[in-house]
């Protein structure tokens, strides 16, 4: 078995009386899509936030790319190659769609404190940014304000920004949400290919997509991983059916 790029061991997080993460251990292997599913409020987004460094776990360890990242800030983790999308789109509303991606591109290039050279005629940023928009099918919206594109389009833009970061692992929090039927279908195909670029930790409620994509699935209920396994394992798991899937299995 190859070494995991990202691994969590015994991560615990409590909000008041609520255990949002209860001794969670899971890992992400190179080249895989690891789906994280579970009821609403189970603690999936909370887990993503802890991996991304936006909130600190109460206890437990997170390792990324062979390194203990417990003490790194969100910024440092992002620079190490962890890219995340947000469940509720979080973009630069006044920027154009393209500028949103350019900013990410610029961050990857590492040169922020440059005060003189104009940025928006800098082909070394614009071209790759445009390429990412094309990949997610948003090229024709490149010059609209991010605030003015539709909900589904914003979800696509979230994806493009994550792509621009050229990460070593993706943390995708419900990328299918808000996508129409067509969008979901296309995104499924897209993610399928993306795993070759970097492994994906995929939080998703769209079971068609999860079952089509996941190499492994972990099920989180009340902050605890109650099952990890292949698609077939999970489909057949009675606990998971009851807690989460219902008739969808």
């Amino acid at each position: 078995m190859p070494e995991a790029i990202l691994s969590l061991s015994n991560v615990t997080k409590q909000f008041g009386a609520l255990l949002a993460s209860d001794n969670v251990s899971l890992d992400l292997l190179p080249g895989e899509i690891h789906a994280l599913i579970g009821p609403n409020g189970a603690g999936k987004s909370t887990l993503i936030k802890q991996i991304a460094g936006e909130i600190k776990p109460d206890s437990g360890d997170i390792r990324f790319a062979g390194r203990d990242i417990n003490d790194l800030s969100a910024v440092e983790r992002s620079r190490m190659g962890l890219a995340r999308t947000f469940q509720v789109s979080s973009l630069m509303p006044e920027f154009s769609v393209l500028q949103n991606v350019v900013l990410a591109q610029q961050s990857v290039s590492g040169k922020i404190f440059r005060f003189f050279k104009p940025v928006l005629s800098d082909a070394s940023l614009l071209e790759p940014a445009m390429a990412q928009l094309e990949r997610v099918g948003l090229a024709d919206r490149a010059h609209m304000r991010a605030a003015d594109i539709s909900h589904g389009e914003r979800r696509q833009l979230e994806m493009a920004v994550a792509l621009a970061l050229k990460p070593r692992a993706f943390l995708l929090d419900e990328p299918m949400a808000g996508m129409g039927p067509e969008g979901s279908k296309r995104l499924t195909g897209f993610l399928d290919g993306l795993r070759a670029e970097a492994p994906i930790l995929l939080v998703e409620h769209d079971m068609d997509a999860v079952f089509a994509l996941a190499d492994r699935i972990s099920v989180l209920v009340y902050g605890r991983v109650i099952a990890t396994g292949t698609v077939d394992d999970i489909r057949g798991n009675e606990d998971v059916k009851r807690a989460y899937l219902g008739e969808e299995a």
Partner: protein
């Protein structure tokens, strides 16, 4: 590349700002030159604030602190030089100076240091908290200046002769105007380049969404801090010129009224617009000057006019004349 309306408007404004004093000079109206100089200087203070406020979304209600620091740099250095008293004697002697260039450098360094300190503390907060905590720091400096007797306290400090600049008779109004206008030009050019740069993009981003900034690996705090310091330095530079314009500094340069006034220039002209602060300062000073002599209750029509501008000219004067801003 075709010019958009704002660019044309900016050129017209710049031309006006230069033409008016030149005509005044020919007509022998030196006071109009003084007014134009005041517009240039206060506009420049606004250009500084605009970097923090307009581009960075950092609504600093304490920029008078930097304006005043610039002013006091000029006042203190000049008064020591004029009185032949060294500023300090041990461990080594530092003397005052009446050279503007030296004064400016001191103003820039002093304001940068203070801004770094204030920024490091205040930038932890945001929104209205930021507005108020910047005010708090400015008030501390203000009360300090009022009660500190060494440099005149509330009475302020006179510079009997305007400081000098190589090759220029600064006492001549039109020469001093030219100097101030040139500095304003530098400040505007710098901020124009700045906002189009990588840093400018990051600053814009930091204003809109810090969560997203962190997620793409840029620490918004650092971006904001650098912007805050740059902004403070330009405002301080303007403060040094203002001291020379009046040949006088006093704590009123540090008061919250001053902060408010600089902010009003920026908003009135158009937040985040290159020439906004200059347009705002020009309109405000023109109104103040025209109305001031006309009517005992002149601030009433001034208030009404300002109100009309906010209500009906979105994006300030520049917005009114050049249309809403396009995203770059």
């Amino acid at each position: 590349m075709s010019m958009n309306r704002e660019t044309i408007l900016n050129i017209v404004l710049a031309a006006l700002l230069i033409a008016v004093p030149v005509i005044a000079q020919i007509m022998g109206e030196p006071f109009i030159i003084t007014l134009a100089t005041k517009v240039a200087i206060l506009g420049m203070a606004g250009v500084g604030l605009n970097i923090a406020l307009g581009y960075g979304g950092l609504v600093s209600f304490g920029h008078a602190a930097f304006f005043g620091i610039g002013g006091y740099a000029a006042g203190i250095l000049a008064s020591h030089a004029l009185n032949y008293e060294p500023i300090m004697e041990a461990p080594f002697e530092i003397n005052g100076t009446t050279q503007m260039i030296v004064i400016w450098i001191v103003a820039l360094i002093a304001s940068a240091l203070v801004a770094l300190l204030i920024g490091a503390i205040t930038l932890r907060t945001s929104g209205v908290y930021f507005i108020m905590i910047t005010l708090a720091f400015a008030q501390m400096i203000y009360y300090f200046a009022i009660s500190w007797p060494a440099y005149g306290g509330e009475d302020g400090l006179s510079i009997y002769v305007r400081n000098s600049f190589p090759g220029l008779n600064t006492l001549d109004p039109i020469s001093f105007f030219a100097l101030c206008a040139a500095m304003l030009g530098i400040a505007i050019a710098f901020s124009a380049v700045l906002i189009r740069s990588r840093f400018g993009l990051a600053l814009h981003g930091a204003r809109q969404n810090s969560q997203r900034m962190m997620a793409i690996g840029i620490a918004p705090f650092r971006v904001r801090l650098v912007a805050f310091v740059i902004s403070a330095m330009i405002t301080a530079w303007a403060g040094a010129l203002y001291a020379d314009l009046n040949r006088f500094v006093s704590p009123s340069m540090l008061s919250w009224h001053m902060s408010g006034e600089i902010m009003v220039f920026v908003i009135l002209g158009g937040v985040g617009r290159l020439f906004g602060p200059v347009a705002g300062a020009a309109l405000y000073i023109l109104l103040e000057h025209l109305l001031g002599g006309m009517f005992e209750y002149w601030q009433l029509p001034l208030g009404i006019l300002l109100l009309v501008v906010v209500l009906f000219a979105r994006g300030g004067l520049i917005g009114l004349l050049a249309g809403e801003r396009k995203h770059a």
